[in-house]
């Protein structure tokens, strides 16, 4: 940080008053405009938004544009989002603009390629949709914090910021696991696991901003489970036809690890005839495929931490993100941690879909006015 930049951070105007614990605090600055804070969790699978007007919304991260004039006439809209886009995908050029947590093609050397431009446009529309879902009033300033993968590249962060700056007054990005931890006031000796569709982010919180060495991003996340399940189903259900959308549907409905549960009966067409298959073992094994790499990554973060605090870290693992909804995953991680690391305690966040957006909203709310204005 340069001297000038340090001054920007530390010399902000403050009017110290006594806090309840005797510390010097800053008074809330006055400003005439209404301010809508928006926290966005821009995920590969779902985009969730939480705002300071009480709105909380989530939409599947799909954007579709009518393929031709006929589709446009039939759909009567220029773009569709989420499940609606997925349902009408045959009439649409469908984009899932984020892959492994980053905007597709934003990291390539050719950001002007048609694919890169199309995905950037879709990502911008998705951010615009997320902000619209927050129902901002036109006369209010919109300040947004967007959670993105911990190890996203600068190019990708630029692409996200570019998308956001078109629709909000000021935008910042922060790492997704940091947002989850900040939202839950877990700043000290906590290991956050955020399992998304594209990536699983692990982040070590120890009272300061996590450095790169405090964060690990894995590709073993929701999409990885889909791929494994696809392969396993091909073996277990010979002749059956299914798409990745169907697999996601099964995963979202039945995902579990751990002890045997009720049979999972699904129907796939075989040579055009609907045929019933029992797939509980396939679902379990596919979901379980993320556990060993996760515990391996946890081990890396723990073993490189101060030895005096390693035990505390192991017993303070916070599980969030859409993947944390896999039934029994917390227990499975604990069990694997006991086997590999000797101990472990995993707590699952209460609202996996909104934990990131809530944390981003809290970050936005707490961010001082001067910072927002400098990033306009």
């Amino acid at each position: 940080m340069s001297k000038k930049d340090s001054a920007l951070v530390e010399d902000k105007p403050e009017a110290p008053v006594e806090s309840k614990d005797g510390g010097k605090v800053r008074e809330t600055p006055d400003k005439p405009e209404g301010v809508l804070y928006v926290g966005i969790d821009l995920g590969t699978s779902r985009t969730s938004v939480a705002a300071s007007n009480g709105v909380r919304e989530t939409v599947a991260s799909y954007v579709g544009y009518p393929k031709d004039v006929v589709s446009r006439k039939a759909l009567k809209v220029d773009k569709l989002f989420g499940d609606e886009a997925l349902e009408k995908r045959l009439m649409l050029d469908l984009y899932r603009p984020l892959e492994r947590g980053v905007i597709k093609f934003s990291d390539t050397d050719n950001p002007d390629s048609p694919e890169a431009k199309a995905n950037s446009r879709a990502a911008a529309d998705l951010v615009r949709k997320a902000v619209a879902l927050a129902k901002p009033r036109p006369d209010e300033l919109v300040y947004a914090v967007i959670g993105c993968p911990a190890e996203g590249s600068i190019k990708n962060k630029k692409a996200i910021l570019d998308a956001a700056r078109e629709v909000v007054d000021s935008a910042m990005i922060c790492s997704e696991p940091f947002a989850v931890a900040y939202g839950l006031d877990l700043f000290f000796d906590t290991l956050v696991i955020d399992i998304g569709a594209g990536t699983t982010d692990l982040c070590r919180m120890h009272g300061t901003m996590p450095a790169p060495e405090d964060q690990i991003t894995l590709n073993t996340a929701g999409d990885h489970i889909d791929s494994v399940m696809m392969e396993n189903l091909k073996k277990a259900c010979p002749g059956a036809q299914f798409t990745v959308h169907k697999i996601r549907e099964i995963k979202e409905k039945f995902a579990y690890v751990g002890n045997q549960r009720d049979p999972i009966n699904v129907e796939f067409p075989v040579e055009g005839k609907p045929t019933n298959f029992e797939v509980s073992e396939v679902v379990k094994e596919s979901c379980r495929s993320i556990v060993p790499p996760l515990v391996d990554a946890l081990g890396k973060l723990i073993s490189t931490f101060d030895p005096d605090f390693q035990s505390k870290l192991k017993n303070n693992v916070l599980l969030g993100g859409g993947g944390s909804q896999i039934t029994g995953l917390g227990e499975a991680l604990e069990s694997e941690m006991h086997a590999i690391l000797g101990e472990g305690k995993v707590t699952t966040v209460e609202e996996p879909i909104y934990a990131g957006a809530n944390g981003a909203l809290k970050t936005a709310h707490d961010m001082p006015k001067e910072y927002w204005e400098q990033l306009r």
Binding site: P138, E140, E350
Partner: protein
């Protein structure tokens, strides 16, 4: 009668529903919850509206208009901006299409009226010409005969007959034109007249539909501020850490770091565009 509500109800209910976890419900002490399928809700509301509409009017067209008005009011009550915007767009498109069709119909009507007028004028002109030539011929013949009979009686007779001849001819022509104006139209004129009448009825009907579309749009625009302009934030001013939170110093430091890293990203973006090296820290945000 198809109820236009049913197509969008399910989506509206889904949009308005707030998801909550079973875990949270359980924590709040819920052991059982009544569940009503969204399709049932859709069916109930759809049937209720349809029943009321059918009972209130025998005119299906009027019933459809009432159903559409009910749909707009229902959308407003649900306060779903997406659905309201879609409906507004649909109505605006419908209004545009109606205006276009109405213009075309008005042009056709104008053209049909002009054709009919031309036909009638042509018919009148032809009849008058025919009558005039017949009259001239008859009058010439009668006057020729009169001159032969009475012309020798006095030298003033031919001039007097010529004077009377002009007046009689003019009076007969005027009488003929009055009569012709009351003559029944020909078959082609009746056909053209029927077309004009049909077009006039269509114009009236389209004008009614256009007025209704305009009224619906006006109704949508007359939403309360909160519905049209989004939901107000609970904050009128920028917040920031108040200092009353626990771990204030840590929070302050963390937020300063987030800000600084964002600032670094902006600088890197600027530097990148100039080809300068980037800041390694920026990737940590």
């Amino acid at each position: 009668m198809a109820n236009p509500l049913t197509s969008s109800l399910a989506r509206l209910f889904r949009d308005r529903a707030k998801p909550t976890s079973l875990r949270r419900l359980h924590k709040e002490g819920f052991r059982t919850v009544p569940v009503l399928d969204i399709a049932q809700l859709e069916e109930l509301v759809g049937h209720a509206i349809e029943k009321v509409i059918l009972e209130s009017t025998d005119d299906p067209e009027e019933g459809m208009r009432l159903a559409r008005t009910a749909q707009v009011e229902f959308l407003k009550m649900l306060g779903n901006p997406g659905a309201i915007d879609r409906t507004s767009q649909d109505l605006r498109r419908e209004q545009d299409a109606l205006e276009l069709n109405l213009q075309k119909l008005r042009d056709s009507l104008e053209s049909a009226r002009t054709d009919l007028e031309h036909q009638v004028e042509e018919r009148d002109r032809a009849a008058v010409d025919l009558f005039r030539s017949g009259l001239d011929e008859s009058v010439t013949e009668i006057w020729g005969h009169a001159l032969q009979t009475y012309g020798d009686e006095s030298p003033a007779v031919p001039a007097a007959l010529d004077h009377v001849r002009g007046s009689i001819r003019d009076s007969v022509m005027a009488l003929f034109q009055r009569i012709i104006s009351k003559v029944q139209p020909t078959r082609s004129e009746a056909h053209a007249g029927g077309r004009v009448e049909l077009l006039e009825r269509r114009v009236n009907k389209l004008t009614g539909s256009l007025d209704h579309a305009r009224q619906l749009l006006k109704r949508l625009r007359e939403r309360k501020d909160g519905e049209i302009d989004g939901i107000a934030s609970i904050y009128d001013e920028v917040q920031g850490l108040s200092g009353r939170e626990e771990n204030y110093e840590q929070r302050k430091k963390l937020l300063a770091d987030v800000f600084q890293l964002n600032l670094d990203i902006r600088k890197d973006i600027a530097a990148e565009s100039k080809g300068a090296p980037t800041t390694p820290n920026a990737s940590a945000v």
